[in-house]
Symmetry: C2
Subunit: 354 residues, 2 copies
């Protein structure tokens, strides 16, 4: 598919790169591709960023048939622009769409769309340390009608946002509230899919955590209310003695690109990684005895977010004196080093845009 | 709040009332009210039905912060128009919004909005038997930004659709597939809220049921995969011997207006109603022995939908020779009789628009 291009009449002023925040500024153009049952994906176009006209009965506004992805473009010191494992995002979107009975966006179309849009908007890839261009591909049902069924029309849209740190704390440790009332997902549901409904359901717990003075929540599983699942919108890992423990991919958590990359790094470093169920009781006990050396969330937006404190019921444990741990720091430096082109990439994760 | 009114330049041709289907036609006007944090609900207006302009980063398209309601306006034989217990929908929307950290639409504003819109569009309330005007109020986040937090801006919109029967089968029995792979909701999640994410998650099971020759699914609970929850998007009731058994409201199922009305009718008729956990094993055994006399789904869209067949794993049970049961029929006739003004309404459920 060749994309038609319509250039914006007026370009925006770029935001100050040291004060970007996360997801507040958007670039001048976006990619839009339509889907119609019987025709497939069609009318790909790069057009000025601006409002989309939606029928009030369009199904996404009622039944949330919507999925998304998140990845970043990084500015290397030689001026080139890199993507990080974008094909994994493409494959995950296919899985998400399948769960929601939405048509797959072919991997090639996903990659071509992102690459052409980012190249077209390359002046929007920031240069300051710890900044990047966040890429948000998303898919949603546009068919009108309030009967519930898989829609016959969709849009795939990609928007771009220059970003700094996700958390105001930067890469400093955050305080985590272990949530035992709200549930994020359960096996058989949509936990492994990156779909809007999971995020809508999670907001109440996040607000509750913040009201209690915590940055994010640690989710427990929905069946036993016992096993650790995710932290906020990130996967989560714990260094217990010499072993990194993380939740296995069994349908209720998101298969994170950062999670997978970190497991690869750890295994290469001969650190034992256990993908297994970890109960909150075992975790709190490890916190009490000091066996819990480090803890961190992993995700595209924040990359790695160290956890300095866990609060569960009436108990609080402090991890590594509320300092970023050595392994956490090494992982962050290595992964972001690869992403920003400062560290060798033996895994061929980085894809330089040509 | 007074609503501004902008009349459509051209009115649509009304669809043929005997061929309405469900949710395919929309009236000439809609109600829109905006919400801004710090200001509250403002700028209520009745305007021509038409596209809403949405920023591509608006949060509803990414994180599904969206809720809705469903109720109907009925044409009585004297030409007057009736709503059915609309205050229950208003109260439920408040609960749904609370779960999704969205601002409540005050009950008075909800009722005034619907009443004024329906009166303005009264020619759209159909007159044919078994038709009504389906009212779809919905709320969604309009703030732009891809950081996850409760939005600061929302819209509350009401659209109207003249409808006939929800199922092509009408009030004839449907075949139900008992789903043991996909899960609709779990306690601690959003099962009790009428939010888009629940419906997006349910589509895959519905498609699977249809592929197997069934109209809808019967959901089992997400924890034990054992207890009956809902049928499709309806509550479900079973007449086992002389007792009606239905799922209790414990957070994972929707508190249906029709469910509540039917329980009231049954209790008045001195039929024993048990709101209790019913395992699929007990249900199938009741089907085998013939203790299961009748079964039906209840909801605003279909009102009452008799169940003629249940399929679970490798077993099929037929209920009441695949005929609509006596109690089911009596409930349908009484409830729709009250709604359409043909049967006395001792409960003051019907609200005639003045």
């Amino acid at each position: 598919m060749e994309f038609k291009i319509e250039r914006a009449k007026q370009l925006k002023e770029k935001p100050v790169e040291t004060k970007l925040g996360f997801g507040r500024h958007f670039s001048d153009h976006m990619l839009v591709i339509d889907y119609t049952e019987g025709i497939g994906w069609h009318d790909g176009r790069i057009i000025p960023y601006g409002p989309i006209e939606m029928d009030p009965a369009c199904m996404v506004l009622h039944y949330a048939q919507e999925t998304f992805e998140g990845l970043k473009a990084y500015r290397h010191t030689d001026g080139s622009i890199a993507l990080f494992r974008p094909e994994i995002n493409a494959q995950r979107l296919i899985k998400s769409n399948e769960r929601l009975c939405m048509p797959p966006v072919p991997v090639d179309l996903f990659l071509k769309g992102i690459e052409e849009l980012v190249k077209y908007e390359q002046d929007w890839v920031p240069k300051e340390p710890r900044t990047s261009l966040y890429i948000r591909p998303f898919c949603f049902a546009t068919e009108s009608g309030v009967g519930l069924h898989p829609a016959k029309k969709y849009k795939f849209v990609v928007i771009l946002s220059p970003v700094g740190d996700y958390y105001p704390e930067g890469v400093n440790p955050v305080k985590i509230w272990v949530e035992d009332e709200y549930v994020r997902a359960v096996k058989g549901g949509t936990g492994f899919a990156k779909c809007g409904g999971n995020y809508a359901a999670s907001i109440a717990a996040q607000v509750k955590a913040e009201q209690n003075g915590y940055t994010q929540v640690l989710w427990l599983d929905g069946v036993h209310r016992k096993y650790v699942e995710e932290v906020g919108t990130m996967n989560v890992m714990f260094l217990i003695n010499d072993t990194v423990v993380t939740t296995p991919l069994e349908g209720s958590i998101l298969p994170g690109v950062t999670r997978d990359s970190i497991i690869t790094l750890l295994k290469d470093w001969r650190v034992t990684v256990e993908e297994r169920h970890l109960s909150i009781d075992e975790l709190m006990e490890a916190g009490r005895t000091g066996a819990l050396k480090e803890a961190f969330g992993t995700g595209t937006a924040a990359v790695i977010s160290p956890i300095g404190e866990l609060h569960y019921k009436d108990e609080t444990v402090i991890i590594n004196d509320f300092k970023t741990g050595k392994l956490t720091k090494k992982l962050y430096d290595t992964l972001t080093g690869i992403q920003w082109g400062r560290v060798e990439d033996p895994y061929h994760w980085v894809k330089i845009l040509k």
